[in-house]
């Protein structure tokens, strides 16, 4: 029978939640790396026992951990992230030039075909690649060097490259997103990049339709339609049908179009999920009611999903990398909260139940569907 493994990164360690295909009873292991910030843990599509984890603290910096046995044992790998050449400057919060400084790895994206190749999205925003299982890291410097880098500015959480999407149909095509610079695409495996932000409108920018500067919170893709991307921006839910050449808004009837997480159903490429969040400063659910919204039409028409979710007094957030889906017959949907709950739906979002209640702040949630 199939199994699901849910990889949870939290502010104080990592947890691995496993269940059979019914997804009713869960085994919980952890905390792994207790006390460390675990920004992201992700498994290799080419070898599900190969996991990569980003571990960091303000005291001791960045560690990359690797497991070859599905998370039972771990080994520290290389942690030398050095920007290529003279790093230069980006904009600081006050608009003054600020030198690029490595702070941490936000997101690890293993190759779709090679367990030893993995990409790392880092703060200050840049993309690195390792081709030897995480031992050595090289910057794909064409991203920072394509010309707009000096105009990038940090969002409230820092200037992070938080989203990496590999095109399953084209090994040379990669999408990334940066807060607060926007979305970018390469068609030559990372040598050269172009901003793909046409159609985005950000009222907090002096020029709301600028080429860069947009605070993209997250992007999701269904592997069967690699040209279709869905974006949760600081405000607005957006969609592109042409690999980012142009975007249009699909916020539709959402109660608020602010949020962080967005994901796509495993078997229905037009079914997407978001968690609307009250903003600009509150960053908790509207009216204290935690809700997921689902669109079965690729956006614009949204339905509220509430069964099993808190009806009152809920003031948590769901961060950008804290939602994932599994690929069992009835698609599972998962998300973690800043209050330490991880909710699961085994029926594509119709009903929800917490797997765990009281973890540290959840930073990321990823899944693996195992045979």
């Amino acid at each position: 029978m199939s199994q699901v493994r849910v990889l949870v990164g939290t502010r104080k360690g990592a947890f691995i939640l496993t269940s059979d295909g019914k997804r009713e009873k869960w085994d919980i292991s952890g905390p792994h790396f207790a006390g460390w910030e675990m920004y992201h843990i992700k498994g290799s599509p080419a070898d599900p026992n190969r996991l990569y984890a980003s571990q960091s603290t303000g005291w001791h910096g960045q560690i990359i951990q690797r497991s070859n046995d599905g998370g039972r044992t771990w080994e520290p790998m290389g942690n030398k992230f050095v920007y290529e050449g003279v790093p230069g400057t980006h904009q600081w919060y006050d608009g003054t030039p600020h030198p690029w400084e490595f702070k941490r790895v936000w997101h690890l994206e293993p190759s779709l075909t090679d367990p030893d190749t993995v990409y790392a999205g880092v703060e200050d925003a840049a993309l690195f690649i390792s081709k030897d299982g995480g031992r050595n890291w090289d910057e794909l410097a064409g991203l920072r060097g394509h010309g707009s880098g000096p105009r990038w500015q940090p969002g409230a959480g820092g200037m992070c490259l938080h989203t990496i999407i590999l095109d399953p149909g084209n090994p040379n095509r990669i999408f990334v997103a940066i807060s607060a610079a926007g979305a970018f695409r390469t068609d030559d495996a990372g040598k050269t990049w172009q901003p793909i932000n046409r159609g985005l409108h950000s009222k907090y920018l002096p020029e709301p339709t600028a080429e860069v500067g947009h605070c993209v919170h997250h992007i999701a893709m269904h592997p069967s339609r690699p040209g279709v991307l869905y974006m949760q921006k600081h405000w607005d839910v957006m969609r592109t049908g042409d690999a980012g050449e142009s975007w249009h808004e699909v916020s539709g009837n959402l109660p608020t179009d602010f949020g962080f997480a967005i994901d796509v159903h495993a078997h229905e490429p037009e079914t997407i999920y978001v968690v609307p969040i009250k903003s600009d400063s509150e960053h908790f659910p509207l009216d204290g009611k935690l809700r997921v919204y689902r669109s079965r039409t690729g956006g614009n028409e949204w339905e509220e999903l509430r069964r099993g979710l808190p009806e009152r007094h809920c003031y948590v957030n769901v961060l950008r990398d804290a939602m994932a889906t599994d690929s069992l017959d009835k698609c599972g949907v998962y998300f973690g909260t800043t209050g330490g709950q991880v909710y699961a739906s085994a029926d594509a979002g119709d009903s929800w139940a917490p797997i765990v209640h009281d973890l540290p702040t959840v930073l990321s949630v990823e899944t693996q569907t195992l045979p």
Binding site: G35, W36, T57, G58, W59, H60, G61, Q62, I63, P76, N79, K80, V82
Partner: protein
């Protein structure tokens, strides 16, 4: 034999219990001590000092013989008591954060 006491997180990372004991060739300085430590435990590279600049990480402190040596030059000799192993060299995570 030099005695080094690591903070808890780094003991876990290096998979050691208690003090670390190191042989340090030549003059015992912060740099030579940390070079020896990182050579024995490569997973500690970058966790105490920056791998590129060699500078101490901001929230890490070096204490020995009831002195704060954090701001001493990296090539200055460490106290005799550290060099002879009668006192440990303490690598401390500064009190900060939750």
């Amino acid at each position: 034999m030099i005695r080094v006491e690591l903070p808890a997180h780094l003991r876990t990372l290096a998979r050691v219990d208690g003090e670390v004991r190191l042989d340090v060739a030549g003059l015992v300085t912060q740099r030579s001590l940390l070079d020896a430590l990182e050579s024995r435990y490569p997973m500690l590279r970058g966790t105490i000092r920056d791998q590129s600049t060699g500078q101490r990480r901001p929230y890490v402190r070096f204490f020995a013989c009831e002195q704060d040596l954090s701001h001493d030059p990296p090539d200055a000799p460490l106290p005799e008591a550290v060099a002879t192993g009668s006192d440990p060299f303490l690598i401390v995570g500064a009190i900060a954060g939750g």
